[in-house]
């Protein structure tokens, strides 16, 4: 009886509006989406193939060398990289690994390119912070699967919508940490740069960004990890890579192949995580 009170108006057609809005955007912005889909798709394929053209052994060695130097000349991560990557190769998943890596790399790069400037904007303006904070909350809490639907509508299936969905899911940490990092720079340092007559840009590039670097890098590390976690989900809309192997194993209820592909993702995740984390620490420590 009491529930009648809640029915003072008929159900709001929220889902219908969303569908219509998406249709409208798909329709009107096709001029924009189609070239992105085509060129970016080509670019990704090219990157993927370029990586495959390099002998696997060279890539494994390169990763090992990078790991060695970035961890401060320690052998741990380098050894892990060699064994881990060799295992993936050994399991015949090398090609998928390269696709996954391409997807993670490009999604992360785009996230950083978009995220850092937005973070800077938020740190400079209270209004921008008030506007972007709820949007970021929304982006992070909405189940990642939901992004797949408009991604397909805009870009069809394949790698491009995968990157699009990853982008939405993975950008927020970079934005948040950039904002936080700049706001955390000590007030006296900012005052010092101003007292000597810095312009806004000089203050940003010579003091605030260098000082916020560690925090921003922590955000980027999170972004890369989130992009990687989107790999399996993005495979549902046809993004190639290790995720697709996991998905197909799931659909056929094959524990073995699913586990192997999963381990491949874990190995990649550990290597990327340790490398980006150590980029954060480096010399100044």
């Amino acid at each position: 009886m009491l529930d009648n009170m809640l029915e003072f108006i008929p159900s709001i057609p929220l889902s219908e509006w969303t569908t219509r809005a998406t249709d409208w955007i798909t329709d009107k912005f096709a001029i924009l989406f189609d070239p992105i889909k085509e060129h970016f798709g080509n670019f990704m394929e090219f990157t993927s193939e370029a990586l495959l053209a390099v002998p696997a052994v060279l890539i494994i060695l390169l990763v090992a060398v990078i790991s060695f130097f970035i961890t401060g000349r320690k052998f741990g991560l380098a050894a892990f990289s060699i064994v881990g990557l060799w295992l993936i190769y050994n399991q015949g998943l090398w090609e998928h690994l390269m696709s996954t890596f391409t997807l993670v790399l490009l999604a992360s790069l785009l996230s950083v390119i978009i995220g850092v400037p937005i973070g800077i904007l938020m740190s400079k303006s209270r209004i921008a912070e008030a506007i972007f904070t709820p949007i970021l909350d929304f982006m992070q809490t909405m189940p990642a699967f939901v992004y797949l639907i408009p991604a397909v509508a805009f870009f069809g299936i394949g790698m491009v919508p995968g990157v699009f969905a990853s982008l939405i899911f993975a950008t927020p940490p970079t934005v948040r940490f950039t904002n936080l990092g700049i706001r955390q720079v000590s007030k006296e340092l900012v005052e010092a740069s101003e007292a000597f007559g810095s312009t806004g840009a000089q203050k940003l590039f010579k003091v605030q960004l260098p000082m916020a670097r560690a925090t921003i890098m922590a955000g980027i590390n999170q972004t890369v990890m989130l992009a990687l976690s989107m790999v399996v989900i993005a495979s549902m809309i046809g993004a190639p890579g290790l995720g697709r192997e996991v998905l197909s194993a799931l659909q056929r209820a094959q524990v073995g192949p699913g586990f192997v592909a999963g381990v491949g993702i874990v190995i990649l995740a550990i290597i990327i995580d340790r490398i980006t984390q150590n980029m954060n620490k480096d010399k100044n420590a």
């Binding site: 006296e188 010092a192 007292a195 000597f196 007559g197 000089q202 100044n284």
Partner: protein, 413 residues
């Protein structure tokens, strides 16, 4: 003139390098109303109750001469740090004007303000505010770097400034590798590299431990003797203020309570607050010979003999007397015993019975340094200025001066 106090008439002098008129800062939303109430003379608390605004600085009016060390002192929360930030407009003034060499900083646009900051105002911070990601040299050259001065030139100037503060050997270290005192030298060098006319020093030595702080004060004074910059120095430490300040502005609750030379503040506190403030001060460091000396009774070596000397001692009830010539040049000391013997032996020249072994101090000698001297001396200490006797100090005067409620005789100086 009393104590060599510089004549000080607010606003009349046109030589001032910094001139603040009714400079106010109110933090909060309803600043307009708060400023109005300030004009009506309401206190900081009343305004907080009425408008919810916090008064940072309340109509500060002062001017600073070129080459002067102007100390702004007060306890924490007195608004001194806000006031120094109003001088280079790191904080926007709510009301009033701040003139740097006649140009009003408060009404400048961003670019003009930037140029004034680059050319005329250097700043040194309490917690050093060095850029941790830059080397010492890169820190020092920051001010010139943002002016796009060619690399070679700015490195040269930065190196010179670092050498001036004794850090020529640390150019490529990072700030974190240096001790606090050394870090603040870098902060000072960074401000000096720009060769500004005004140095704003915000509690620059407060974060250093006392011994290092004293060294830094001495060093700053040495540098100042060479550079002759105008320095606005913020501190909460009265000892520090008295040590380095040519003039001191004492702040309380955002208002300037008194401006004056260290002596004026100490000897003529304007109100109870200032008096309480200076009560605890170690007067032995601040008061000098001229503050406690009294007028000497003398005999003239050119006119008088032992007979007159003895007569005068009897009149004054003294056991001895300083001897001067007609130009008041100090010649020596004669005791009553010697004068009496001389008279018996018919010696008529004072020269023959003079003691030359006398305790002498300059008029600017601090009380601290007079202690030992006066303790061992069998006679009063002579205070001399260019060889002339200008006063004597008796033992009691030193002790009296140290008790804070004593009336120091200013007329002597």
């Amino acid at each position: 003139m009393i104590l060599g106090i510089k004549p000080y008439f607010e606003g009349v002098r046109n030589l001032s390098i910094i001139e603040a008129k009714n400079l106010s800062k109110v933090f909060g939303k309803n600043t307009k109303q708060a400023v109005e109430l300030l004009g009506k003379g309401l206190s900081k608390e009343e305004i907080l109750k009425e408008t919810g605004c916090t008064v940072g600085v309340n109509r500060a009016t002062f001017s600073v001469d070129p080459g002067e060390v102007f100390v702004i002192m007060g306890l924490s929360g007195s608004g001194k740090s806000t006031l120094v930030r109003l001088i280079n407009r790191l904080i926007e003034p709510t009301e009033g004007s701040i003139l740097i060499e006649g140009d009003n900083l408060a009404t400048m646009d961003k670019k003009e303000l930037r140029n004034v900051r680059r050319d005329k105002l250097g700043m040194v911070f309490q917690k050093f505010a060095l850029f941790p990601h830059r080397t010492i040299l890169e820190n020092a050259e920051f001010g010139l770097e943002i002016q796009n001065v060619p690399k070679e030139e700015r490195r040269k100037k930065a190196t010179e400034a670092l050498e001036l503060v004794g850090l020529g050997g640390y150019l490529n270290q990072k700030p974190s590798q240096l001790s606090g005192g050394m870090q603040q030298r870098v902060g000072l060098a960074r401000a000096l590299t720009n060769d500004p006319e005004v140095l704003l020093m915000d509690e620059a030595f407060s974060a250093l431990d006392p011994l290092i702080r004293k060294d830094m004060q001495d060093e700053l004074m040495d540098l100042q003797a060479k550079m002759q910059k105008t320095i606005v120095f913020i501190t909460h430490d009265l000892d520090e203020a008295l040590r380095i300040g040519d003039r001191i502005a004492l702040m309380k609750d955002g208002s300037i309570v008194q401006i004056g030379t260290p002596e004026e503040i100490l000897v003529h506190p304007k109100n109870d607050y200032v008096e309480k403030f200076v009560e605890d001060i170690d007067r032995s460091k601040v008061l000098t010979a001229q503050h406690i000396m009294k007028r000497p009774e003398t005999v003239n070596i050119e006119k008088h003999g032992p007979r007159v000397a003895l007569e005068r001692m009897r009149e004054e009830g003294l056991s001895g007397m300083y001897v001067v010539d007609s130009k008041r040049n100090l010649k020596g000391y004669v005791t009553a015993d010697d004068a009496s013997n001389a008279r018996k032996n018919n010696i008529n020249d004072l020269k023959e019975i003079l003691t030359n072994n006398i305790p002498k101090v300059d008029k600017d000698t601090s009380l601290n340094d007079i202690f030992d001297l006066i303790h061992d001396a069998p006679m009063p200490v002579a205070v001399v200025e260019e060889g002339k006797l200008i006063g004597i100090i008796v033992r009691g005067a030193v002790l009296a001066a140290l008790s804070s409620d004593s009336e120091v005789n200013m007329e002597n100086a």
